[in-house]
């Protein structure tokens, strides 16, 4: 059962050196002055909302973006310092920051470590400099190497590397090469996120596709790369625990698992979303408004009905390769999964899209799980949509 007394914190840093061509996140370049004002606003929001977290154990903190590492280290570290005074951050909490090669040096990384940040997520995307240029990334493979080894030297023992596949012009061969390059790092990363590129509306990529300048990888190739990634990483000892996430044993990202298991989280910063006791809400997107009044930007509070909670339980839970537990569902909703979704489950089992299996959880409890099959993972939307009303 989801630990309701547990809480995660997310901080959105909407700044970057330069926006990548495929990026649809809320992010933009900004002056150091604006960045500093923003970090102050973040602190104000976090402190002002502390009572919402009263009595909660904070199990993870995540600085995401944008590129949080463009901001001066003292601002990040200072914020974290302040947080510890008002939020019950557990000593063993997972504290992650996203960094991009070319935006950190040894000094910055050491500062992070000293402040208690214990997990690093590095945006690499590809080991091929040509592909990096197409994506509009600001760094090369060489710069990534420098960042990676500097992080190891600074003492980071839990590192994620972000990769992308199905890039315009990418071949199966170059996809393989990127994987090999990353696996040959000494020591290799504990965690790898490997995404199939999404062509989001409103991005330069999307426009370029409409004009015929770029084209999406054929589906068959996309799936070949996906399977290649899974095979190669499995051989190297990584478990795929979610559609796009792979980890060495014990290194799955606790923060992200929380999203899929519907653990409560508070998001701070522009556009940041939160889930608290089955109410979803978020801050508005405007930066200037946020700078002025960080505590007055909340909008769209949505209290989830029981039905919506069940729907989320499934379409989020099924993203994990372990799937969702029959007992967990029953504990949450006092109805069995079969009672609510019997026919849909039956149909998808028959079509080979879902499977049932037994699993032992960390506490040594054995329960039956409902999970997507290999094929089911490829067409996850098709399956998940059926669990909606």
């Amino acid at each position: 059962m989801t630990e309701n007394r547990e809480l995660e914190l997310y901080f959105h840093i909407p700044f970057c050196v330069k926006k990548c061509l495929y990026c649809d996140f809320l992010s933009q370049p900004a002056s150091p002055l604006v960045q500093e004002r923003y970090m102050e606003a973040l602190a104000r929001e976090a402190l002002g909302r502390a009572e919402e977290a009263e009595g909660r154990k904070v199990v993870s903190v995540f600085f995401g973006g944008g590129t949080p590492s463009v901001v001066e280290a003292r601002l990040i570290c200072g914020l974290l310092q302040n947080l510890r005074e008002v939020y019950g951050i557990l000593p063993e909490a997972e504290i992650t920051i996203e960094v991009n090669p070319g935006t950190v040096d040894a000094e910055k990384l050491s500062a992070y470590r000293e402040a208690g940040i214990n997990r690093l997520s590095i945006g690499l995307q590809s080991a091929d400099d040509g592909e990096l240029a197409v994506l509009g990334r600001i760094h090369t493979w060489q710069q990534f190497l420098e960042t990676y080894y500097a992080a190891r030297k600074a003492g980071f023992a839990n590192i994620n590397v972000d990769l992308m596949s199905a890039l315009p012009g990418q071949t199966l061969e170059s996809c393989r090469k990127t994987l090999e390059s990353v696996l040959s790092l000494q020591p290799a990363p504990e965690h790898i996120s490997a995404y199939s590129l999404i062509w989001e509306e409103g991005t330069p990529f999307y426009e370029m596709e409409k004009k015929g300048i770029l084209s999406q990888a054929p589906e068959e190739l996309d799936r070949q790369m996906y399977r290649e990634t899974k095979r190669t990483l499995a051989k190297a000892g990584y478990e795929r625990y979610e559609i796009s996430n792979y980890a060495r044993a014990g290194y799955a990202c606790r923060h992200n698992l929380g999203y899929w298991k519907r653990r409560d989280y508070l998001g701070f910063g522009v556009g940041a979303a939160s889930l608290l006791e089955n109410v979803r809400f978020r801050n508005a997107d405007g930066l200037s408004r946020y700078l002025e009044n960080p505590l007055g930007c909340r909008e769209q509070a949505q209290a989830l009905t029981l039905e919506e909670q069940m729907e989320e339980f499934l379409f989020l839970g099924l993203r994990m390769t372990d799937g969702v537990g029959f007992d967990d569902f029953a504990d949450c909703f006092s109805h069995s999964l079969e009672e609510i979704y019997g026919p849909v489950i039956e149909k998808n089992l028959r079509q080979g899209l879902l499977r049932r299996c037994w699993r032992m959880d960390g506490a040594g409890r054995r329960q039956e799980m409902l999970a997507l099959t290999e094929f089911g993972l490829d067409v996850a939307n098709y399956v998940m949509a059926q669990f909606l009303r």
Binding site: Y10, H12, Y195, S196, L197, I198, E219, E220, D222, R223, I243, S244, N256, Y259, W260, Y265, G267, G271, A272, A273, L275, R280, R282, Q302, E311, E312, F315, L316, R319, Q351, L353, L377, D378, V379, A380, N381, Y382, M384, A385, Q386, L388
Partner: protein, 604 residues
């Protein structure tokens, strides 16, 4: 209060589509002062939402206004609106029968068009006095002198004193009103004769029952008159009579010979009232009914099915109500393996079909699946019997067919000379038989063709428009039946024949049609978890094939705390899309696929 017959003018306005008929009607209503400007909606006569959106007038409607003429007398104008589209010749005909004269509106820039001619001839057939009005003189390209000559040369109507107007700006409308008084005759008929009134429209009102729109030819009808419908035999007592204000019914004491108005008689049964029927006094009947107007034949048939099978009774009720004021709509129950229970419906043309379909969806909240429209074929069997085939699925075994015939229309196409070549090419492609060509004036010609009806019901209008950049107009009349080499084209989806997609086609174009159908369906049918073959077959032989590839990938690579709500919306949209699908075997087919496969002209 007796009405002076000599002060009544019953008339309609006829025009080619977009020449400004409705705008002129609005101005006439405005300038006769029955309404304040505040009450004026943009177009008073077009009171259905649908009409306003499409910009065309569908249903005949009437309005009574009072005009104080320059001679100092007050005249009652009964303006009866008519539709402008060729599909609705029947409705035009109904409206005309209630009039004594017609105002012909011609666009000062475009001049005479195909429907101008068709409508004028129709008006003359009804012995109406017609006078021309030249509209849109404010356009930079207006050339009223040329248009006057055209009217005199082509139609043979005196046009020298035709009012030159801009209905949009209200210019010259006063002169139109004066000419209505002078050029349109007062009605005849005697109020003391036995009642004889023509039903030219009717609507159903849930409080008043059926409301009959009629033109009294002879006699008088008032509250309490016991009336009889001469064709259906129904008898009722009149509850109320009245005339038409703009958008409302205004009760009055009586309707006498020459007047246009409405009658209610608590008629609950829709079938008792037939448009075209004659109303008489049950106690003092007239000798004979009025000649009904040209009875129309449904030209286009298709199957209409409720998307949700449980809504079948609702669809039946809706069709019954629609038929009441649209006698040209015909329907009978049928069943389809693919679509379940529905109706085979007959229409005047494809536009009529689309309008009925939209009205059913909009006014009655029904979600419909429409099958491929087809025409009525005559199937002569070897045993000597004749079948009028409206549903391709009912085609008998080919071995029992002696021969088949299809309906042919005489088509007139008016086109600028630069597009003659491409329009002739189009007619050839559609199996047209060239009859001749006349030049209207230096730059425009009238092309005459015999065309099979089934070649023009689908997308002929669209093709005509696109190949002439809009500079062609078109009108047709049914000519009769001719023998033809016809075959039934079947569509198989995932190796299952889908009866709702079968249609009849000329043997020579079967291959081409089959190929295009398959291509089109391939685009319409979403990918499934498995591969779906789409095949076209004639007599069990496959003549074309396409394949909808199996779905390989349908997954969101990322979903974190910030996008859960948005990602859920994506999934909901996907789920919503599925609801608009028809399950056939194990394949889900979007409802619009049944209709959109008809638009097959690739030269857009």
């Amino acid at each position: 209060m007796a009405v002076d017959q000599s002060k009544i003018r019953n008339f309609c306005i006829v025009a080619h589509i977009d020449h400004g008929k409705s705008t002129l009607a609005d101005r006439i209503i405005e300038m006769t002062g029955l309404l304040t400007s505040r009450e004026m909606q943009a177009q008073v006569l077009d009171n259905m939402d649908l009409e306003r959106e499409r910009g065309i007038t569908i249903k005949a409607q009437a309005v009574r206004t009072v005009y104080r003429a320059k001679d100092g007398e007050e005249y009652i104008f009964n303006l009866i609106d008519t539709p402008g589209h060729v599909d609705f010749n029947y409705e035009v005909s109904r409206s005309l029968a209630a009039c004594d004269g017609a105002v012909l509106v011609v666009d000062a820039a475009q001049g005479i068009e195909a429907q101008t001619l068709a409508n004028v001839y129709l008006a003359l057939d009804h012995d109406l006095d017609v006078f021309p009005v030249i509209n849109k003189i404010d356009l930079p390209s207006a050339d009223p002198e040329r248009v006057k000559e055209e009217i005199e040369d082509v139609i043979g109507l005196e046009a020298q004193d035709a009012p030159l107007i801009s209905a949009k700006n209200g210019v010259g409308v006063e002169e139109v009103l004066e000419q209505i008084v002078k050029k349109i005759p007062a009605p005849k008929g005697c109020p003391e004769n036995p009642l004889q009134a023509l039903i030219f429209d009717c609507i159903y009102d849930s409080y008043k029952g059926v409301i009959i729109f009629c033109r009294v030819m002879e006699g008088t009808v008032r509250k309490g008159t016991r009336i009889r419908m001469m064709a259906t035999g129904a008898r009722e007592e009149v509850v109320e009579v009245g005339y038409f204000g703009a958008g409302q019914f205004i009760p009055c004491e009586e309707l006498s010979a020459g007047m246009v108005g409405y009658i209610t008689a608590s008629i609950k049964n829709v079938k008792d009232t037939a448009v075209g029927d004659t109303v008489t006094d049950a106690d003092n009947p007239c000798a004979a009914p009025l000649p009904g107007y040209k009875k129309v034949q449904s030209m286009v048939y298709c199957g209409l099915y409720p998307a949700d099978g449980a809504k079948y009774p609702d669809l039946r009720d809706a069709l019954e109500k629609l038929q009441l004021n649209d006698a040209s709509l015909q329907y009978e129950p049928e069943t389809s393996v693919a679509l379940g229970f529905g109706f085979r419906c007959g229409f005047l043309g494809l536009l009529h079909l689309e309008i009925i379909q939209e009205r059913l969806e909009r006014e009655y909240g029904l979600d419909l699946v429409t099958t491929a429209p087809g025409v009525v074929y005559r199937v002569y069997k070897t045993d000597g019997t004749l079948i009028e085939l409206t549903n391709p699925a009912n085609l008998p075994d080919p071995s029992t067919i002696e021969h088949m015939e299809e309906p042919i229309v005489a088509a007139e196409i008016m086109v600028s000379s630069e597009y003659i070549g491409s329009i002739m090419e189009l007619c050839q492609e559609r199996r047209g038989r060239y009859l001749g060509m006349e030049y209207i004036e230096g730059t425009r010609a009238l092309l005459k063709y015999d065309l099979p009806l089934n070649e023009i019901i689908y997308d002929f209008f669209d093709a005509l428009k696109s190949r002439s950049r809009g500079y062609a107009s078109f009108d047709y009349d049914i000519k009769g039946y001719e023998p033809s080499k016809l075959v039934k084209l079947d569509i198989l989806i995932n190796r299952e024949e889908v009866d709702a997609l079968s249609f009849i086609v000329h043997a020579d174009s079967a291959y081409e049609r089959g190929r295009k159908m398959c291509e089109k369906l391939k685009d319409e049918i979403p990918r499934h978890l498995f591969e779906i073959p789409i095949q076209a077959a004639v007599g069990g032989k496959i003549i074309a094939r396409e394949t909808v590839k199996a779905m390989r990938k349908d997954v969101l690579a990322k979903c974190y705390g910030g996008d859960i709500t948005r990602k859920k919306k994506l999934l909901e949209k996907q789920k919503e899309g599925k609801k608009r699908m028809r399950q056939i075997g194990s394949v889900e087919i979007p409802q619009k696929a049944f209709m959109s496969v008809l638009k097959l002209d690739d030269r857009k």
